[in-house]
């Protein structure tokens, strides 16, 4: 059971480039989340999804886009990368609403540097 898988683990981008962070979960969870973590700043929610075809903005959505075409996949797209998007990104899923209290299962993170 792989859980939540994020790729890539590391990436360096130039300003203005675009890229997609991939996230896949194999636990059939309805809820999925993207967070960014900056040093000493805790986790900030970028986007979330409550099921296939349904997404919504979190606290810091500017500069990002998401899609959820399947239950398993929740990619995060960065358009026109900026230095302010240098961060560690975490994808998480949760069986919330499926008889669960909402425990989060996290991927190992993707460290992105924009130069």
């Amino acid at each position: 059971n792989a859980g939540v898988t994020q790729t890539p683990k590391f990436r360096i981008l130039k300003i203005g480039q675009s890229m997609t962070l991939q996230c896949t979960q194999d636990m059939n969870h309805n809820y999925m989340y993207w967070y960014r973590q900056d040093p000493g700043m805790g986790l900030k929610l970028i986007y979330y999804s409550v099921g296939a075809g349904i997404t919504d903005k979190g606290e810091v959505p500017n500069g990002y886009n998401v899609s959820r075409s399947t239950t398993e996949d929740f990619p995060l797209r960065l358009e026109l990368a900026a230095p302010s998007q240098t961060s560690v990104y975490f994808c998480a899923s949760s069986p919330f609403g499926q008889g669960s209290s909402g425990e989060l299962f996290f991927g190992e993170g993707s460290r992105l540097t924009v130069l």
């Binding site: 809820y31 989340y33 000493g40 700043m41 805790g42 986790l43 929610l45 979330y48 409550v50 979190g58 975490f90 998480a92 949760s94 919330f96 609403g97 209290s101 909402g102 425990e103 989060l104 996290f106 991927g107 190992e108 993170g109």
Partner: protein, 113 residues
């Protein structure tokens, strides 16, 4: 609105000493509460959770936490800290009314030999 406060940004303890990390929450009904640990360069791992029943919950790695409704607290404890416990600890709240978890800002635990 729900909120989680971790009042301590950093905690320093000596190896073998006891540990208590504080977490206070604000929510009108009974919350679901979690403690996660993040070791350096790693993702977050669940330590323990409370959603009903016994207010003293046991977790992995020898950690426990006590839910105190009267104090709106869910403090994390460990009787004897090991050097490998050095990490960032997050208190998290969810509820039946919101599927967006509320994170505390985290407490960084430093362990001196």
């Amino acid at each position: 609105a729900q909120s989680v406060t971790q009042p301590d940004i950093h905690i320093t303890v000596s190896e073998g000493a006891s540990l208590e990390l504080r977490c206070n929450y604000s929510y009108g009904a009974t919350p679901y509460l979690f403690w996660y640990v993040q070791s350096p360069g790693q993702g977050l791992q669940l330590l323990l959770k409370y959603f009903s029943g016994d207010t003293l919950v046991q977790g992995i790695k020898g950690f426990e936490a006590e839910f105190k409704r009267s104090q709106s607290s869910f403090n994390l404890r460990k009787p004897s800290v090991h050097w490998s416990d050095a990490a960032e600890y997050f208190c998290v709240l969810t509820s039946g009314g919101s599927y967006i978890p509320t994170f505390g800002r985290g407490t960084s635990l430093i362990v001196h030999p």
